[in-house]
């Protein structure tokens, strides 16, 4: 009985899996939308403004993550052109920029806490929100870094090009999304910092 089953043309049906990633992005957007709405409800309802000028670290991290989107784009392009060495190089660059972003964000926390006396456990929870936004975003960054590593491993193991491109696309969708989310959060914080 089992032998008589034919898989659909035996081709890998990857489109639905890529679609899964898009839906996950919706899910994740809802999560950040909920957090920022929570901020609005809190600060509006309680009359607690943020009153914190965002540390300049966040500006640098924004630049870094935009740059990393660029390098990932180049990696994708190289993968399409079968230049696997170039693909790996740009993937490593993206990975390094991602780690740098992570480090700058943590440095941003250090500045907030030790230089500006803005605490996670601030009685004004608008300020706690800054840590929640960045912290929850960093969890996404970790997931993105793992995806990049996964793509790199695949590339070094010479997996078939269809799969290599598939991994590349999944990583790209997610990483660009994570970048956009950070820009959204940063602009949101800038607009509400007074």
């Amino acid at each position: 009985m089992m032998a008589s089953i034919q898989k659909n043309g035996d081709k890998l049906d990857l489109a639905p899996k890529k679609f899964n990633m898009w839906i996950f992005i919706f899910t994740s957007s809802m999560f950040f939308a909920a957090l920022t709405s929570g901020f609005i409800v809190y600060s509006g309802g309680k009359g607690h403004g943020l009153n914190v000028i965002m540390p300049s670290a966040f500006m640098y991290s924004t630049a870094v993550i935009i740059l990393s989107s660029g390098t990932l784009f180049l990696a994708h392009k190289a993968a399409k052109n079968l230049q696997f060495g170039v693909q790996q190089l740009y993937l490593w660059l993206t990975f390094a920029l991602g780690v740098a972003f992570f480090a700058i964000q943590v440095y941003g926390w250090y500045v907030l806490t030790y230089k500006m006396n803005v605490y996670l456990t601030d009685p004004n929870a608008s300020r706690s929100f800054v840590y929640i936004f960045t912290g929850m975003h960093l969890i996404h960054i970790i997931a993105g870094l793992l995806l990049i590593l996964n793509t790199l491993t695949g590339s070094y193991r010479n997996i078939p090009q269809v799969k290599n491109l598939f991994k590349m696309e999944m990583t790209s969708i997610f990483w660009h999304f994570v970048g956009i989310i950070w820009i959204y959060l940063y602009v949101f914080l800038l607009l509400n910092q007074n």
């Binding site: 089953i5 899964n20 999560f31 929570g38 809190y42 309680k46 996670l120 009685p123 078939p160």
Partner: protein, 628 residues
């Protein structure tokens, strides 16, 4: 994908398909299965187990309500320090109602219902080999299973399970020292819920992706059965609503464990002022109910879809108003996101805002009434077969009507001042989403049992189960309306101690005995379910003479569902009793060219060639008649 290049990696090119043809072991077939049919069964059996546990919890607190002054030494034997001196303790009573609600809403009616039927029906009814990502599907079940274990494990910690109500409002849920149930029990509740949400999201993402990407040839959206429409929209609701709960829970966890004060302000605990200030407990309610209200539609919509399908098949009639059914489901989906405030009318909300939420809430009556009308119109003059599944589907409509009517009262901001947190609310939601959704689920179990297990369930036991449960549910919940109108508050341990409410003690005793009867009726179901799996009568391929695709698969399950090609779909799923047809059902896989005598002009709205063929057929038919 025009740049897709063929690239040969030479020796390093492993055969990616090599592992797919390996022999199935016990573990890969029954435990870590990636076959959607097996995962559906796993969800169903775990769901039923959780339902039985939640039912036992409800009987325990019903005993306390009916006999607040009696002692039952057996309870102490069974529950130990949760029931000292033969009586359930006050704290444990609160734990019981909390965990009963949590298990029923999330574990039974979300995962048990959607998990079972979305997994079983989506690939089978749209014509797909499996889900978009079978691996994620497997993970979805195992996260659900772990969530269930963690939730139940909270009965084994010293201070007992969470007890702040299934809505876990802070500050009770945010301060571990607030009451016994706020301690480890609450922590376990949160851990369990995080895993549950992960499970739900993985499942939901798969369901949406599968429905949108993997339909067989000819299966356009308007040829999908209503079950698929309902499960699809349910999954969308889950995807949009659960992340918001996660956001609320993340902030709650920070308040609980890291000293922030998102939800906490001006709190004195055991005479000691707490350092929290500036927080807003209402913020949690906003975040919770933004999930919580869609959640009740996540619970009821699959039941609606299942009932529509079962009622059409067993009335031997097309579902009345198929398009209206779909649009009303979409309407409910959209509206469910803008009504959450009706749970918060008495939180000191701006009356204008309350008015807005009141209007959006009452508008939901429109799609709900459309659906009810269509169900009744489907039954009207049908050639009804009263199978157990059909009875449960009709029961679902009955509960939806009687429970839905009271929703119109509760949706009024002014009336809610009186009715909020009374037994009126308890009666309302236990009928409209509790009993109705359970009946939809049971209708699905009876209807698709042959598809799941290849056996038929015993009908007589099914009838016994239906009538006892149906009557039992009304006897339990109907009197609660009157208690609520009299102002009896919900979640109270012994409200009959109040002089003004003493008169309700006899009613409480009555309700408890009705609940015990309804609970015993479930034994008939469990016996039927378990024995039928092993010793039931073998089913034929299409026992209900149904049109949908799942009945074209062989009775014996195989991974990939159809031996050979996936069938093509030519028509909608509701061609029952079509005038001129040879039989009273025409499966979706039968092309119009094979049913010339029953074709109608509107079958060819976007197919001029087909219409021409039909006209030609009809003229020759008429000419032949003239000759005769």
């Amino acid at each position: 994908m025009s740049t897709l290049a063929v690239h040969d990696h030479g020796v390093a090119h492993h055969d990616e398909h090599g592992h797919e043809h390996h022999k199935e072991t016990f573990v890969s077939k029954y435990i870590f299965s990636m076959d959607h049919k097996m995962i559906a069964k796993q969800f169903l059996i775990t769901g039923i187990t959780m339902a039985v546990i939640a039912m036992i919890l409800s009987i325990l607190f019903r005993i306390q309500l009916a006999y607040p002054d009696k002692t039952f030494p057996l309870l102490t034997t069974l529950l130990g320090h949760f029931a000292p001196n033969g009586r359930i303790s006050t704290e444990f009573y609160l734990s019981l109602v909390t965990i009963h609600g949590t298990i029923m809403v999330f574990f039974v009616l979300t995962a048990g219902l959607s998990g079972t039927f979305a997994n079983l029906l989506i690939p089978l009814q749209i014509g797909a080999r499996d889900m978009a990502s079978p691996f994620m599907n497997m993970l979805s079940y195992w996260f659900f299973f772990m969530a269930s274990v963690v939730m139940l494990s909270s009965f084994f910690v010293q201070k007992g399970p969470a007890s702040g109500g299934w809505t876990i409002y802070p500050p009770l849920s945010a301060l571990p020292k607030a009451m016994p149930g706020s301690g480890e029990g609450m922590t376990l509740w949160l851990i369990s819920m995080v895993m549950f949400v992960a499970s739900s999201l993985m499942g939901g993402i798969n369901y949406v992706s599968t429905v949108l990407n993997m339909r067989t040839k000819g299966m356009d959206l308007w040829k999908m059965p209503l079950t698929i429409w309902a499960l699809f929209l349910t999954a969308i609701l889950g995807i949009l609503a659960f992340p918001v709960l996660v956001a609320g829970v993340v902030l709650l966890i920070f308040d609980r464990s890291f000293g922030t004060s998102f939800y906490l302000s001006d709190i004195v605990l055991n005479g000691v002022a707490q350092p929290y200030e500036g927080g807003s407990p209402i913020l949690f309610q906003h975040l919770f109910w933004f999930l919580g209200h869609p959640e009740v539609y996540i619970v009821i919509m699959p039941a609606m879809g299942i009932s529509s399908e079962v009622m059409s098949v067993n009335s031997r009639k097309p579902i009345f108003g198929y398009h209206a059914m779909v649009y009303s489901l979409i309407g409910i989906t959209v509206l469910s996101f803008i009504v959450w405030g009706h749970h918060m009318f008495v939180t000191g909300m701006n009356p204008f805002l309350g008015g807005v939420f009141m209007i959006t809430t009452l508008i939901i009556a429109v799609p709900s009434a459309v659906k009810t009308f269509n169900w009744l119109a489907t039954l009207w003059r049908g050639n009804i077969r009263f199978t157990p599944a059909m009875l449960f589907a009709i029961g679902m409509v009955s509960f939806f009507i009687s429970g839905g009517l009271t929703g119109i009262f509760l949706g009024n901001a002014a009336l809610d001042i009186n009715l909020h947190d009374t037994y009126f609310v308890v009666a309302h939601f236990h009928l409209v989403m509790g009993s109705a959704a359970i009946f939809g689920m049971l209708a699905g179990v009876y209807h698709w049992f042959p598809k799941m297990f290849g056996k038929l369930m015993d009908e007589k036991l099914g009838y016994l189960h239906f009538w006892l449960t149906f009557i039992g549910a009304y006897l339990v919940f109907f009197p609660m309306h009157f208690m609520g109108l009299d102002g009896v508050p919900r979640r109270y341990y012994a409200f009959t101690e109040f002089a003004s409410m003493q008169k309700w003690l006899t009613i409480n005793t009555f309700i408890t005995w009705a609940a015990i009867m309804a609970a015993l009726a479930q034994v008939a179901f469990l016996y039927n379910f378990i024995t039928s799996i092993f010793a039931g009568k073998k089913t034929t391929q299409n026992p209900w003479e149904s049109n949908t695709l799942e009945w074209t698969t062989p009775v014996e399950h195989l991974h990939g569902n159809w031996p050979g090609e996936i069938p093509t779909v030519y028509r909608w799923p509701y061609d029952y009793s079509k005038p001129g047809a040879e039989e009273d059902f025409i499966p979706q896989t039968v092309p119009f060219s094979q049913t010339m005598s029953s074709n109608l002009p509107h079958d060819f709205e976007d197919n001029p060639a087909g219409l021409e063929a039909l006209n030609k057929f009809n003229t020759t038919l008429k000419a032949e008649e003239k000759v005769k």
